[in-house]
């Protein structure tokens, strides 16, 4: 999965720690998601998308390759 979490976070001038706090997640979770090392659960992906006010498919895209 590819995602735009880093891009959307930086657009809002949020730190990884701040984004984690808004979601009740650790900074490590945010780092791992941004690095593409960790695909969040559907529930967390939807919470992230809601926080960014974007449809979930705008934030996460299936990597066809």
């Amino acid at each position: 999965m590819k995602n735009r979490v880093r891009e959307l976070r930086l657009e809002r001038d949020w730190t990884q720690k701040e984004l984690g706090s808004r979601l009740g997640m650790s900074r490590q979770a945010i780092i791992a998601i941004e690095n593409g090392k960790f695909d969040p659960s559907l529930k967390l992906a939807m919470r992230l998308s809601r926080l960014f006010k974007k449809p979930v498919e705008d934030v996460f895209q299936l990597d066809e390759a």
């Binding site: 730190t15 990884q16 720690k17 997640m25 490590q28 979770a29």
Partner: protein
């Protein structure tokens, strides 16, 4: 807001901070159980020699170990889904590594007895750090 500065914190720093956060997220009763288990286990091993055991002391030792392990499981349960994955990977690594280590030692005539538990725990701690690093950056 200085985003760059915030992102520079180290892996070790984050591990310490978030281990603390996980500890704080545990209900007070579970923290008390865990601390009581650690204090009882260390106390029994330092103050009461193994040869001076008996069923009562043995039962207390087992109870203390159960308290410590239960506390660890509770700390994993309250962690976020990233850390739950780290715990899961650490358990898998530790299961494989400690099984191989203990079996190999036994085959070469080294029977550790109760110290086998220390091998399992140490293997888990190392596995946790490895799993954390792998899942964080890859």
């Amino acid at each position: 807001m200085n985003v760059a500065a915030d992102e520079r914190e180290s892996l070790v720093h984050d591990l310490m901070v978030e281990t603390g956060a996980s500890w704080n997220a545990m209900p007070l009763a579970w923290r008390a159980v865990t601390v009581a288990g650690v204090v009882m286990f260390v106390g029994l091993n330092l103050l009461v020699g193994r040869e001076a055991g008996g069923p009562a002391i043995a039962s207390l030792r087992v109870l203390a170990l159960i308290a410590m392990v239960s506390g660890s499981v509770e700390s994993a349960r309250v962690a976020d889904e990233f850390y739950q994955r780290v715990y899961l990977h650490a358990c898998a690594y530790a299961f494989i590594a400690s099984t191989l280590i203990l079996y190999a030692l036994f085959e070469f005539g080294v029977n550790l007895g109760v110290r086998s538990v220390s091998v399992v725990v140490t293997t888990f701690v190392i596995s946790f750090v490895v799993a954390f690093a792998v899942n964080r950056r890859g």
